[in-house]
């Protein structure tokens, strides 16, 4: 699987650019590139549903972020001002990666998913639900309750945004 490694390296590069670059608009565009890399990775990893969803979500996120940040990229204080804090953060991340490396060793190797429960979905999914797309069968039938949660999250965010952008929060007559 060379493609996935190349895509991951591309995403890491885009992410580093997004973190490092001073200009907010460039940063947003760079993270959009990383998102497109993610969409391609989903395609390579045989998840076309996710590739479509990630693509459209990425476009929407970009539109929102660009409209939110445009003309507002004021200068901001550099992050490397406190050398000590950065050092602590890097140490924490290094420990995190090291621990992750040791724990990854005992996981099943890449490309050898166990599919203990998913085997049942693949075996019986089409007959039991009538849906040739197993993803649809899972999200709307086997695990439909999760999807109820998912749409509720989106609904919550919509109401939350409407609540947050109110101009007047408190009635001021006392």
């Amino acid at each position: 699987m060379l493609e996935i490694h190349l895509l991951l390296i591309f995403m890491i590069a885009a992410a580093i650019i997004a973190v490092r670059v001073k200009d907010l608009l460039s940063s947003v565009v760079a993270v959009g590139a990383a998102g497109l890399g993610l969409s391609l990775s989903f395609l390579v990893l045989k998840a076309p549903d996710l590739a479509i969803t990630q693509l459209v979500v990425e476009i929407l996120c970009l539109v929102i972020l660009i409209r939110a940040t445009i003309k507002k990229d004021l200068p901001f204080s550099a992050s490397g001002r406190w050398f000590f804090n950065t050092l602590i953060t890097l140490c924490f991340l290094a420990i995190f990666l090291g621990a992750a490396y040791f724990s990854l060793k005992s996981l099943p190797q890449f490309g050898n998913a166990v599919m203990r429960v998913s085997g049942i979905y693949v075996e019986n999914g089409m007959i039991q639900t009538g849906s040739p797309n197993i993803i649809s069968a899972i999200i709307l039938d086997y695990r439909g309750y999760d999807t109820l949660g998912e749409v509720t999250v989106l609904f919550t965010a919509a109401i939350g945004v409407l609540a947050i952008v109110r101009k007047i929060g408190r009635k001021r007559e006392t």
Binding site: L8, A113, P132
Partner: protein
């Protein structure tokens, strides 16, 4: 294995961005990167070498499929990420209206 590790490196970059950057939009971007990494990790975990995508087609016998369950979960997770991003952008825009900046070193009306 290498793919897993690269994915976690991406996670760490996002985490670094959240922890060390002083700009609200950059922090939101960091959260986005972290979400990308977690979603990708889930899909990597469910990959099978030579597997087909989990969609049956007429008149075709498919023997080896990638794990469909992580894909269903990540679909939910992408939506959650979108919801969180929208909410954070809304708060950031309001903060910009109140303080006139995205710089968190200048946003400090709260003591703690």
């Amino acid at each position: 294995m290498t793919a897993y590790l690269l994915c976690l490196v991406l996670f760490s970059i996002g985490l670094y961005c959240i922890l060390r950057k002083r700009n609200l939009i950059k922090i939101i971007i960091g959260i986005g990167i972290v979400e990308y990494a977690v979603n990708l990790f889930f899909i990597l975990v469910g990959y099978r070498t030579g597997g087909r995508s989990p969609i049956f087609a007429r008149d075709q016998v498919i023997t080896n499929m990638v794990d469909p369950l992580p894909q269903a979960l990540v679909l939910t997770s992408i939506v959650i990420g979108l919801a969180v991003t929208a909410l954070l952008v809304a708060i950031a825009i309001r903060i910009y209206e109140k303080y006139g900046t995205f710089d968190i070193t200048k946003i400090n009306k709260l003591k703690g």
